[in-house]
Structures are given as C-alpha cells and as structure tokens.
Amino acid sequence: MREQAVRALRRGVAAAVLAGLVLAPWAVDDYTAALLARTLALGLVAVSVALLTGVAGLPTLGQTAPYAAGAYTSAVLGGQVSDVGVVHLAVAAVAGAALAAVTVPLVVHARGVVVLMITLAVGELAVVLVGRWRSVTGGTDGLAGIAQVRPLWGMPVLATDRARYLYTLVVVAALVGLVLLVLRTRVGLLLRAGRDDEARLRASGHRVSLQVAGVHVAAGAVAGAAGSLLVVAQQYLSPADFGFETSALLLLGVVIGGAASVGGALVGAVLVVAGRDWLFGALPGHAPLVLGLAFVVTVYLLPGGGHRPPPVRGRLLPDVGTRRAAGERPAPTGARA
C-alpha cells in the first residue's frame, strides 16, 4: 500500500517536472532558456553516470571523456556531414561509444575505487588532449562559430534559444525513456544482479565481463549524445566544459538524486547545476567551495540520495582486516571468485 502511494507520488512529481520543463521557455528569458538547455545536456550525462554507478555498480568520474568526444565530433565532423540534429546525435553517440570501447580493457577487470581512479584519469586525459589539439578543437581558446542545426530533414534550423531548448528537452526525454525501457528488460535485471553479487552471477553461467563492457559502451553512447546537445545549446565548446569540476558536479547530482534512479540522477544533476549557476551568483568565486561542502554533507547524510544506497562492485574503502578476522584465508594467486 505504502509502496503504491510512493510510486503514485513519484509519477505525479515526474509529470509535474516534465510539464514545468515544457512550459519553462515561455516563462523565462532567452539567457535562462539557453542555460536550461545546457543543464539538460549535463543531466543526460548524469543519466549515463547513474547507469554505471547506480545501476551497474561501477562508480565513475570519467563520463566527461565520452561527453567531450561526442561534443567535439558533433561540432567538427557533424557540421561537415550534415546540418541535421539527429545525424549529429548519431555521430556523437558513436564517438562516445567508441571512446568508451577503447577504455573497456582498462575498466572491465577493475572494481570499486580502482574504477573510480581509472575513469578519473581517462576524463582528465581527455581534457588535456582537447586542450592541446588546437588544430581541431581550438585548444583552450575554445571552438566557436559552430553552425546551427535543424532537428530533422525539412525542418527549419534552430535559430532561437527557445527552439534549441525544446529540441534538447525532446531528445533528453526520448533518450531517458529509451534507457528506462531497456532497464526494464533482462538487461536491467542482469546489471542489478551483477551489482549485488558479481561472483554469483558468474557462477550461474553469465558472461559478466561482456555485460560490464556493454554497459560501459552504452553509457559512453549516452554521454556522447549529450555532447551533441551541449553543442546545440551552447554553440561554443571549450575544455573547461569537461573538466574535473563537471565530473564532480555530475557525481554530486547523481548522489543527491539517488544513484540507482535514472530519473533521480537527471533531476539531481539539474538541481546541482541550477544551484551553481543561479543560487551561488551571490557568492562569486566561491561556488566550488560551496559545492564541495554540499558534496561532503550529502555523502554523510544521504549516502544513497533519496533511496537505499546501491551496492558497488568491489570495495570503495579499504577492508581493515575483516576477512582475516572472519577466519578466511587469502585467495590464492589468480583467484577468479
């Protein structure tokens, strides 16, 4: 009974948020509409973070890498191929997925805090590469003068901030819906099972490494598509869009929204970015400090956001001798369990 009420309340809140997002561009100025569009793009990256961190149990700080790959590919290559938004989206998603696929060998056998460190390094390397590859990315000066796109063939170009916002909203809604649909299939079931107990999943005959690789590449595609939306919303790219601050903001948003909830991650990321851009305007230059404090407070008070904290594959903190205390022997070299 209580679960049904919670479910109904959640649906009501989701419908209200969606209605508010649809009506928002008529209630705010152009600058705010552009800001909202950019925030939605980041919200989609947060969905990819939630997919890895909350659903699959692979904590990540590196989704800015496929996000950047998608954004720059969309801006540089997409502009030469077509001016159609969905083509840019597809190209960006492929770029994000390809970058994620390249990093699969690094993460597929790592777990817990090791994944966090590896993905952080991948994200930082991507930012360095973007900053130095001046001939293509414009380096730290950024990439400006990006051509406007039209959503589909035969439609007018997205010439106003309101149009660009609505395009971003439709794409984000469609992709989040797609992710939710896929998670309702056996794919979602297997990811949750792997997050709970990976060794048990292996002992049942599942190819866990393939599943980890698959979700990593899929999350890369989602982040890459978000990169294309950032190009549409902002019409300018710079390495600062993909730095560590963005990664930390995304993780904070996902933690606040509930790591295991795709919709919650989206809302959490939107709240965090909105908080940075609007609420902290009164404290110029201190936003990172306030966000850092918010992160610490959130992790201590709400380890799972609004939900039960999801398990993580591997350990995030060192195990202080509990295995030995339980009388277990160390695993022999190369143990598979």
Binding site: L189, L190, A203, P332
Partner: protein, 247 residues
Amino acid sequence: MTPLLSARGVTVRYGSLAALDGVDLRIDHGQRHALIGPNGAGKTTLLGVLGGAIPAGGGRVLLAGRDVTRLGPAARARRGIGRIHQRPAVWETLTAAENVVVAALPHAVRPGRWRPSGRRRAAERTAATLLARVGLPELAGVPAGRLAHGQRRQLEIAMALAGRPRLLLLDEPAAGLSAGEVERLAEFLRELPRAVAVLLVEHRLDLVYALCDTVTVLRDGRPLATGTPAQIRASDPVRQAYAEGVA
C-alpha cells in the same frame, strides 16, 4: 564408462600452506557423493576448484572426459556444474522470482531467432515451477534480501536447479537451518532426479549417511579414505581423524 567428473592430482597452495595436496576424486553420473573431514581439511577449497572459483595450482579437472581445468565458473556453469554456497548467495535487491529468472537465463532455450523476449519468458516459466517446487511460490515477489536464512537456502536451491545442472556442488547446505528445515532439505535432495549427480560437503554425518552412496574423507588437503557409508563408519583412521580434528 567415463565418469561425470574426475579430479586428478589437484593442488592448491596458499603461500607455504597446501590446502589441497594432490587430490583425486571421481564422481559418476547420478552419484550421491559426500565429502567430509575435519575443519580445514580442504573441502570448501576443493568445491571451489571443481566449480571454477578457485584456480588449481596443479592437477586437472575433467567434466565428462573434457578438460575444464582452465575454465572459469561461468563456463563450467554453462557446462552443467551448479553450486550451493556455504552462506546462501542470492541477489538481495532482486525478488525471489527474479533471482531464479537470472539464474535460468543462460540455460533457457529461446523459442525462435526473432523472439528475443522468448528466453526471458522461458526463464520465467522455469522460475515459477522451481519456486513452487522448493516451497516459495507465495514469496516470489519479495526481495531476496528480506527472506529468512532458511528461505534463502530454498531460493538458492531453486537457482541452482534453474541452471539444469548435471552436477550439484552443495557446500554445507544444512548450516544454520532448523531441524524441520533440515528434514525438508533432506527430502528435497532425496527427490532430486538421478540425472543430477551431487557432491555434498556436510558436517552433519546423519544427513551424509542418509543421502549419499559414496563418501570421501579429506584430511589436511589429502583424501584419507573413500567408500560406502558403512565402510567409512567402520574405518578406524577416519574415526581417529574426526576425534582429532572436528570442532
């Protein structure tokens, strides 16, 4: 006849300690085989090696004549080795029915190439049947994390059977169960089809002697004796080993 499972000279070392020291074991099709011995004899390690969770430092493991020594637990499960763990291993955030569905998925037969959801439906049918068989049909929708220990054990048995095993490795299945639950477990194991061979590790010797036709005694990582329950009961070295080693 080729045995279902054959372990030859299996060795596992933890540093200078030999947990298993050249163990030979043969299990025939449909056999009910027990592995007993004092604490620290290497029983659970041997189950780990046979199931693929622990790599053998030396020796070979053959399943129906094929060498599976280098295969991991997933590949061995797909070839028909199921395992029930010392502490029931279930996916806690999934419901009981979802647990069995996930366990059944790699083994479910898809009805047609163009029906990708067919495999899940087949797994769902298997789950409903097995949950009824182990006595948990009314708890199908309850998250496994909320089940009591005995119910988790029943669920794990259903999960193991969902893998259509040819060989079931049971690691102290009666641990932590009440007398009534142990009785139900024994009845369930007795009713297992003869196509499923069983390797049972258990400290409760009454259960071992009631269920198994062959018993192997391990001590300090080495086989001490193999025989029928009557032969093992009458064996002096076995009695001595137990007197020295069982807690």
